[in-house]
Symmetry: C2
Subunit: 387 residues, 2 copies
């Protein structure tokens, strides 16, 4: 997902509202470079550069366990968390170890395009459960669970992004989460909670996690530093039952390569233990909140009245719904010609047609002026196509 991979014919001077990337200016801070220097100067550096403990860097696990317990009011132990090579590696391991080709996986409609892709690479069958402004609609999920059970292809896994959802930016309400957990218990479905945006809440605490509500036997929570420290480290984690962590530790890739990214994990542990992550989060939350505010204000100002959009309380994304007579792909193409890059909705749905009137806008990557300008251009493109 490199910024350099632009659509053909698009100049690098375009404004990108396209990708879920942190602002590069937030990466490689003096505190981060200090953490790297400390790791390299440590007498333990040779151990850090060897094959790592299979479960992952123990300092980082300890840090994460106490953080998760504090923030989510849980009582996890070190054997409930394993380090992964980003959330990507987590989703892939879950699919590899708990799914077989043909198995049914339920995802939100829409959901994160690249996770759908990872699941598809394992040959699983994906089914989309409708969401609204409060998250997955329980009656829709139940209908789908019943239907799959009656077809003899019981759903085994529900993949959900509860906080500042990709692509819509919405967060599931506590009431909804409780209803979803009850369905997951009843139908014996594992909840995979991809929670990589949880640290980017602009307006107070997020609701209780699925891990907390469902219990670690029924949920895997995925976290990452990619959105808040640096994606180039490839460091994430899973929190779940000790039994499931042991399964990840015992699998072929972990036994072959050892724990995930030992050097990067030690750098993250050093950075976090010094308190730099929390300070950095305060700073980037303020940055991204300002960008969200600018984007929402620009949408109010420039969008034709038929266009609707979400109002995220954190994360990176706003989701636009266009009038039914407008094709998102055409708007995307025309906007790109005018120097504004956005993602159109099709790829985010199991049934691609469901996304043809949607656009995802990212406010994490562009400056305030660029956001205002890009939304103004996008508004003009949409206006031009509706009239």
């Amino acid at each position: 997902m490199n910024q350099q991979n632009l659509p053909q014919g698009v100049s690098a001077q375009s404004i990108s509202l396209r990708l879920g990337h942190p602002d590069p200016a937030t990466l490689g801070t003096p505190q981060f470079r200090e953490a790297v220097a400390n790791v390299m100067a440590s007498p333990q550096v040779q151990q850090t550069l060897a094959y790592g403990n299979e479960q992952g860097n123990v300092d980082l696990i300890d840090y994460l366990v106490s953080r998760i317990n504090r923030e989510q009011n849980l009582n996890l132990s070190a054997n409930n968390v394993t380090i992964t090579a980003g959330s990507t590696n987590a989703v892939d391991m879950i699919a590899r170890l708990y799914m077989r080709a043909g198995d049914a996986v339920i995802v939100e409609a829409p959901s994160y395009v690249d996770s759908l892709h990872v699941f598809r690479d394992h040959g699983v069958r994906l089914y989309g459960a409708a969401i609204d402004d409060e998250g997955i609609v329980p009656s829709e999920l139940e209908r789908l669970l019943k239907q799959l059970a009656s077809e003899g292809n019981k759903a085994r896994l529900l993949y959900t992004i509860p906080n500042f959802h990709n692509p819509t930016g919405i967060s599931a309400s506590e009431e909804r989460r409780i209803a979803i957990v009850e369905l997951a218990w009843h139908y014996d479905v594992l909840i995979v909670e991809d929670d990589v945006y949880r640290d980017l809440a602009f307006e107070g605490a997020v609701p209780p996690s699925y891990l907390a509500l469902a219990g670690d036997a029924h949920a895997v929570q995925i976290g990452s530093v990619s959105k808040t420290i640096a994606p180039g480290l490839r460091i994430g984690w899973m929190a779940t039952s000790a039994e499931r962590v042991q399964c990840f530790v015992d699998c072929g890739t972990t036994q072959m390569g050892g724990g995930a990214n030992p050097l990067a994990a030690q750098i993250v542990a050093e950075y976090c233990q010094r308190g730099y992550w929390d300070a950095h989060l305060d700073s980037i939350r303020a940055l991204y909140q300002q960008r969200r505010d600018t984007m929402l204000a620009a949408l109010e100002r420039y969008m034709p009245s038929q266009v609707r959009w979400t109002k995220p309380a954190g994360g990176f994304f706003v989701w636009l719904t266009l009038p039914e007579n407008l094709e998102a792909a055409e708007v995307k193409e025309e906007a790109a010609k005018r120097g504004v890059l956005v993602a159109s909705g099709e790829g985010f749905f199991v049934n691609q047609g469901d996304g043809q009137h949607h656009l995802r806008l990212t406010y994490s990557f562009a400056s305030l002026d660029e956001i205002d300008k890009a939304v103004r251009i996008l508004g003009a493109v949409i206006e031009g196509k509706t009239t």
Copy 2:
């Protein structure tokens, strides 16, 4: 694969001939730390810490392409190489993208235990082709290929470790490689050449690679810096056809997480471009050659006459064949009680029983004195059990 994970009841003071790890003393050299410092001080550091180019770090790809072309007399382009998170990630991607549960994969008998594990996690069926001191026995491979074809489960992939093979230490002769390639062409089997030990040749150049002999349409070559720079970086690569590289780039995990380990890859690129890898290889080849010599001399001195062993020309491993009345598992257990850790043969075979009279000894990890002492103890254990 962590050194700390010792069998129960075994003291950390034991001598380990057990794991395929580089000597930790060879890691984190001043040159390596210089490379890290240069990367962190570079004006490009924010780009390095962002999501990486999907195919992998372009500087490292350029370096590897010219190195591979020079050493293997090839004419690859940049689109023939992709960076992976170690050889582990390479084997896993191949299994994920080119295999489905139930597909037939042929491996050497014996082969690398953890690769077998990765393949098994994908539900593929493994079949072992016999090897001798010159590599895979072509008549045995052909028999297996015919048998699988007649059963309607045509083999799709041959996984082989041609140089300084894990676990036996043997290298396939050029004549054998040519015969294997002809079979692979005839039966349309993809050769996956796991070549992570090729840089550790003690006695001149290795024979032509499968990639060179079979052509990139018929082979994937896997390389890694784990044995020679640092396993904790998790950096490897695949060299194959441009079409297959594009498939790896287009897959879900690459699209989701970007190219493999951007920070670590930039460090390796910086280290290699400065010529530090070549100089380091000279130094560690001398180190490991001395250890191999010490182990072979100790085996001559201490082993009962009924024991046979391989004489590797590079890499990390010697493979012992015990008399048929001796169980490797019992020898391993007794040796561990006396402070010597070795790997017994069972796990290296598809049919575990085939390994019950074999031991793998690693000379990369222990000092010369420790190697001599450990082989002396092991000889006494075997002597005690044969008389």
